[in-house]
Every structure is written in C-alpha cells, then in structure tokens.
Amino acid sequence: MSNYFENPRLISVEQKKLIPVFMEEITSDVRKLVLAINATDSQRCLELTHKISGTSISFGISILANKAELVRMSIQENSLERAAEELKGLRTVLIELQEEAKKMA
C-alpha cells in the first residue's frame, strides 16, 4: 500500500492539517453515493462522483479520483450494475486512505 498523502499537493504541515477535513467529506460523500446507487438515482450519482473526483484531485489523491470517474462513466453509460462493481474499487481505496489517515493522526 502506497502512502497516498505523501504527494506534491500536500507538502506543508498546514496542508496536512486539512487531511481530516478531506477524509470526513470524502467518507460522507462515498456513503451518499452508495445510497444513491442503491436508490438508482443516476443524477445524484453523477453529482457525487463529480464532487469526489474534484476533491480528490485537489488533494493529490488521483487514484481515488480515477475510481470515482470509473463509477461516473458506468452511470453515464446507464449501467448501474457496473457502477456498483466500480464502487467496490473506490471503497477499497477509501478504506486504505482511512487507515493511512488514522496512522497520521
């Protein structure tokens, strides 16, 4: 497992202090995404994957942004079934991030 928070977007101590804000928001958004997929609410899924992707890019966590994009593409292709599959990959990365954030706290 690589250290996702050691990246060029998070250099200073002040920036690293924003990691809990990022984690709280991303965890909440992924939870909402699970609910939206279960409810087959495509519009909400698109909004949430867009937000997860943009926030992850801003914190240099490109792997999470890519996973969110895969979910988004599946939804755009009207395949909620595939979106649910891609969501598993996104949640795996999220769990790794949560573990890493815990170690840093």
Binding site: V21, I26, T55, G60
Partner: protein
C-alpha cells in the same frame, strides 16, 4: 483584499483558502458551498463586495451558470468591478465558450488550483490596483 471562494467541497475551499493566505498576508476570505450562499454574501449591504470570486461550475442547488446568469440579470452598485475566476474540472470547450460571454469573468482555470496560480491571481489584482 477580499476573496469569496465558492465550491460545494469544503475541503477544496479550505485548500484554496490556504493557497491565497500563503500568497498574501492581508487577505480576508469567505467561503460558500453553492451559488445561493454566495449571493447572500454579495447582496449583504453590510459587507463590501469581494475583490475576487473564485467560482466552481458544477454544484448542486445553484451552480456556476445559475450564479453568473443571476448576477448578469440584476443591477447593483459596483457591478462593473466584479472579478470572477472560474475554477472547474470541465475541459469542455462549450463550457469555456459560454463562460467567456460573461464579461466579469476574467479567467477560466482547471482544477486543482496551484499555489503559483493563486500567487498570480493576487499579483494581477495588486498590479491592477496600483
């Protein structure tokens, strides 16, 4: 200098706020998570209009387009002094074209904002003020 950051991600607003505070000591930053919250800041008669607005395009509730179209449609003091910079993940040329029609939008940037871009925005503003 007073900046209003509009993004539905609080984490992004805080990261961008950090960049601007690094770029200029004497800076006042407000944040809003959608266009509606931002309008409440702009339309507050007790507050000075922000010198710069950093605006996300895609937000639920009241997005970047809604916000810009509303500003375009109303009359208020110092409207000609409005300076909006778009900060978006959209590389769609159609978005860029539509945004260029709003005369108070001075720049269209792709996320993520870098510290050097924040520096440049602040420097340009300071030069314009001289």
């Amino acid at each position: 200098m007073r900046i209003l950051l509009i993004d539905d991600s609080q984490a992004i607003n805080e990261m961008n706020s950090y960049f601007f505070k690094k770029s200029l000591k004497d800076i006042e930053i407000e944040t809003a998570k959608n266009g509606k919250e931002a309008l409440a800041v702009i339309e507050n008669p007790d507050k000075k209009l922000p010198d710069l607005i950093l605006l996300d395009l895609k937000m639920p509730v009241f997005d970047g387009y809604d916000f810009l179209e509303y500003l375009n449609s109303i009359e208020f003091n110092y409207k000609d002094q409005l300076n909006v910079v778009l900060l978006t993940t959209s590389m769609n040329p159609e978005d860029k074209r539509r945004i260029s029609e709003f005369k108070f939008v001075s720049n269209y940037l792709i996320k993520p904002l870098s510290i050097s871009q924040a520096n440049e925005i602040v420097t340009d503003y300071m030069k314009a003020m001289k």
